[in-house]
Symmetry: C2
Subunit: 179 residues, 2 copies
């Protein structure tokens, strides 16, 4: 029996599906993820179709998407020639994978474009200074943020967890940062 038969599990799946549309995925992708996340065993595509009442092709695309995010992976079940799928259940890894992929899709292209515009603006003499300034500062700001992100992301999980637990207390280490 699939987890989707339990009311709370189903409600989780449906909620996840709705929120998914606000998270840059579509309903089907998010529902498939939720189902796999709650399942304690690998599921094949056909089982997912039946559990969620989705077309086979739709599930196929959703699985491809989720694998693109790195939060679902194919696995093999012995004695079964079909592909099976499992979701990342370690929440920290899930979070890291999602942020990394969203940065790649949603931030990196903009930084690249702003860098390009900066180049071209340097040559264009009749461009108002404030336009050059604002685009330039936006580029710097986003670059700084992502540099910080890349650095922090490289820390080991236990360090990050400790930092999180400290919360605002990290400010103690900054001169004049005691608030």
């Amino acid at each position: 029996m699939g987890v989707e038969k339990y009311p709370e599990a189903l409600e989780f799946i449906l909620h996840w599906g709705e929120m998914g549309t606000h998270w840059g995925a579509n309903r089907s992708v998010a529902q498939v993820h939720a189902l796999l996340f709650l399942s304690d065993k690998p599921l094949d595509a056909e089982a997912i179709c039946e559990a969620l009442d989705l077309a086979r092709s739709n599930v196929s695309n959703a699985l491809k998407d989720l694998q693109g995010y790195g939060i679902v992976r194919r696995t093999h079940v012995s004695g079964d020639r079909r592909d099976h799928f499992v979701a990342e259940t370690e929440l920290w890894d899930l979070f890291m994978a999602i942020t990394a992929e969203r940065k790649r899709r949603e931030i990196d292209p903009t930084i690249a474009k702003l860098g390009e515009l900066k180049q071209r603006m340097a040559a264009n003499k009749d461009l108002p200074a404030h336009v050059r300034d604002r685009i330039g500062r936006m580029h710097e700001f986003m670059s700084t943020l992502t540099t910080w992100y890349e650095q922090v992301r490289g820390l080991k999980k236990s360090t990050l967890v400790s930092l999180m637990k400290m919360g605002a207390k990290v400010a103690r280490f900054i001169p004049g940062g005691k608030d």
Copy 2:
């Protein structure tokens, strides 16, 4: 003359509009924001319509949206009875306003739902343990993250900037976190 006449400014606006669709806004909203961001003077709705070739109603809704995010505000230009609008240009404040609003729209409802499910699952005895576990842990995880966010968000800007500049060096303050 409006900034949208400069090729680099226009390209910025168009790019911002496209990316906006990946950032939870629609093209019009993001374009209006980009235009105001680059403008050095308040613009009225009609001027925005002409600059971006959008319908008046569309601009009206975009402005409402942007004010909802807290990144655009109405302002008054003396001798003109029309509303005028300006965008937040301080990038740090812009970033903070956007993250706060996205959290409110995209995270808080899910935490609330997970909390509710947790309650109900406690009573439901035939629910598989791993389902209860995973939903429960997801709730904890998201709560922990947002608590951390709320705390750090409360620090003053200068402290946050210092922390950002430190990057991975914050790990120095964590026992055994020197990587």
